[in-house]
């Protein structure tokens, strides 16, 4: 895919929602954004983070799909569910460690970010990355990121016992050593 890679830097997100609107304009899913801008802790902070599909190497959403509706293509892009197959069971919505897939009840189908496959497969950048004013979403050559940013990219995440490797990179502070999320910490039972 033209040697470019997708880098998401939550610390750069200013919450402008340009990405959501740019995504929603796409005619393959008109009016429905496949990218979500999430508040990190709304009560404590105004910080936001954009959430695109991380395109796991071994996608949990596709693994749990009982209808074989979620496919990963040769370039490692995990695509939105196939309409004739998706049974709207929401297994993927519950299983995805990043919370990316959304079940659209009106369509009875799960739809998710496919990294603008129509654009990236033709050498163009995803729509969200083209509009992001702070380049929290950057679709660039890895060398550019290495030379221009202080933060370091990672694509290995740990959720409890599950290790997830992704196609999309997340920018971490230079001193961070991988992103380890113990899921139990975020369950209300643990508090």
């Amino acid at each position: 895919m033209s040697g470019l890679a997708f880098f998401v830097d939550p610390s750069r997100c200013i919450g402008c929602r340009s990405c959501e609107n740019a995504c929603a304009e796409c005619e393959t899913h008109r009016g429905v954004p496949m990218i979500h801008v999430d508040s990190i802790d709304r009560a404590q902070s105004i910080a936001t983070t954009p959430m695109v599909c991380m395109h796991c190497e071994n996608p949990t959403c596709a693994q749990v799909c009982p209808a074989d509706a979620i496919k990963q293509n040769d370039e490692g892009v995990v695509q939105t569910s196939l309409k004739p197959r998706c049974i709207a069971c929401s297994n993927c919505v519950l299983a995805c460690p990043f919370g990316v897939p959304k079940m659209l009840v009106a369509f009875e189908q799960m739809m998710k970010c496919d990294m603008c496959y129509d654009r990236t497969s033709a050498g163009k950048r995803p729509m969200c990355a083209t509009v992001c004013p702070s380049q929290a979403l950057a679709f660039v050559d890895p060398d550019v990121i290495a030379s221009e940013r202080r933060d370091v990219p990672t694509n290995v995440f740990r959720f409890g016992a599950q290790e997830v490797r992704t196609k999309v990179f997340m920018m971490l502070p230079p001193d961070a050593d991988g992103l380890v999320v113990d899921v139990v910490d975020y369950m209300w039972e643990a508090r």
Binding site: E57, N58, P59, A62, Q63, C65, D68, I70, K71, Q72, N73, D74, P142, A146, V152, P153, T154, N155, V156, R165, T166, F169, G178
Partner: protein
């Protein structure tokens, strides 16, 4: 830059996951010729299987069964029923005394889905409770319901004061 190390290990995948893969690259391309070969071989296997079943049924029919004593005369009252197995232990049959001197016997397995049929004395017929298939108690013919074939009748013979089962009369024998 921290990066993942190539492919995740696929050796420990279950068989179903290998066959129904979510990866496009693992989906096998089926050529026209390959599909044609599949059709021909499957049809040939079906044909061979049918020939084998046919031969087996011929052999089965040819095998003669010795007369098996099943009941003494007067052992069951008029309108009563006795179960027995004929010709093998897994083929339950019903002996019915319809009149003083009128004994008939049928296989007990309904020809629809092999439920056990029961004799209805009031209506003088064999009734399958599963899907309400009724059979004539005279010939075994289907009176109503889903059964596709008549009940197989057991040929009986009276020797002195004992009844013997001689053979199974299927549809083709009558």
């Amino acid at each position: 830059m921290k990066t993942g190390t190539g492919d995740p290990d696929r050796s420990d995948l279950p068989l179903w996951r290998e066959e129904i893969s979510f990866r496009d690259e693992d989906e096998r391309y089926v050529a026209r010729r390959q599909f044609g070969r599949f059709l021909v071989l499957t049809s040939a296997a079906m044909f061979a299987g049918n020939v084998w079943i046919w031969l087996r049924s011929r052999m089965h029919r040819a095998a003669s069964v010795l007369a098996v004593p099943i009941a003494r005369l007067g052992e069951i009252a008029v309108g009563e029923v006795k179960t027995f197995s004929f010709p093998g232990p897994n083929e339950p049959c019903l002996l019915i005394r319809r009149g003083v001197d009128d004994y008939v016997a049928f296989e007990q397995k309904c020809t629809h889905l092999s439920c056990a049929v029961v004799y209805s004395r009031e209506r003088d017929r064999l009734e399958c409770p599963c899907h309400l298939g009724y059979f004539s108690a005279t010939t075994g013919a289907v009176l109503q319901g889903p059964p596709p074939r008549p009940l197989a009748r057991i040929r009986l013979e009276r020797r002195d004061d004992e009844l013997f089962a001689l053979a199974v009369e299927t549809d083709g024998d009558r």
